[in-house]
Amino acid sequence: MLLNQFLLLSAVLFCLGVYGVLARKNGMLVLMSVELILNAVNINLVAFGAFRADVGGSVFALFTIAVAAAEVGIGLAIVLLMYRNRRSIDLTQADLLKG
């Protein structure tokens, strides 16, 4: 199999994720788009690891998965706190701070 078929698939996921982060305004949906980017990263890492016959890629992917889980956990906590105080998680309404 070609290395590039994996890398191009990952590039598509990455770009869709970037689109999602820029275009979405709901906090949960932005977070899901970030997860798309992180998965693109993992496909890259594992594909390069297989290509270079190096175990580092798999290890890096495992670390990314662990950290992503922690990130989503605290993201949920912050979103919950926001919702409790404000009854909305719409990012365009979060505009107390500007200048």
Partner: protein
């Protein structure tokens, strides 16, 4: 799935794998597209499951069994459940989330397409038709040996990180 990786290393044509890959990749791209475009938060989370499962299959193609299993356990098992809890607890409209301004979307779409063009040129230029030979799966043994020797410092740091995230998330999320 060990079989899958073995077959791919023995034959040169990879017809079956390539068809299978194309089907999975197509599904993933469509699902990812729906994740970033659907107006319904619950649907987005469910489409994300399809993408994540597809990524796990890609890991199997590449012979990374352990990462694939972790992907299923952590991502589909934990992260998606967290997302769904988040959707339920914030009572985000189960129906449609009103859409953002078209202008911002167009900007984001331009950025996304340009980025992909750059990436595609860079990747094709760098690797053209390089093949990736998967000589058998990358075993759990090699991965764990690496984690507990070469990568022991980041491994310990990740455990501190998870504990800190746990404590912090409880403090931030609890009612008081």
């Amino acid at each position: 799935m060990q079989l899958l990786a073995q077959v791919s290393s023995e034959t040169d044509l990879y017809v079956a794998q390539n068809i299978f890959f194309a089907v999975i990749a197509g599904t993933m791209i469509y699902a990812a597209f729906r994740v970033v475009t659907t107006a319904n938060v619950v649907h987005a989370a469910l489409w994300l499951v399809v993408v994540l499962a597809g990524v796990a299959v890609q890991f199997l193609f590449l012979g990374a069994e352990f990462v694939a299993v972790t992907q299923v356990l952590v991502y589909i098992g934990a992260v998606i459940v967290l997302f769904l809890f988040g959707v339920m607890l914030t009572r985000a409209s189960m129906g449609d989330d009103e859409t953002v301004a078209g202008e911002k979307r167009a900007m984001a779409a331009i950025v996304g397409v340009l980025l992909f063009a750059v990436m595609a040129v860079a990747l094709v230029d760098s690797f053209e038709d390089t093949r990736v030979d998967i000589d058998g799966p990358q075993g759990v043994v090699e991965v764990s040996d690496a984690i507990f020797s070469q990568y022991i410092v980041p491994f310990e740091a990740v455990s501190v990180l998870l504990l800190a995230a746990l404590i912090g998330a409880i403090v931030v999320a609890r009612k008081d």
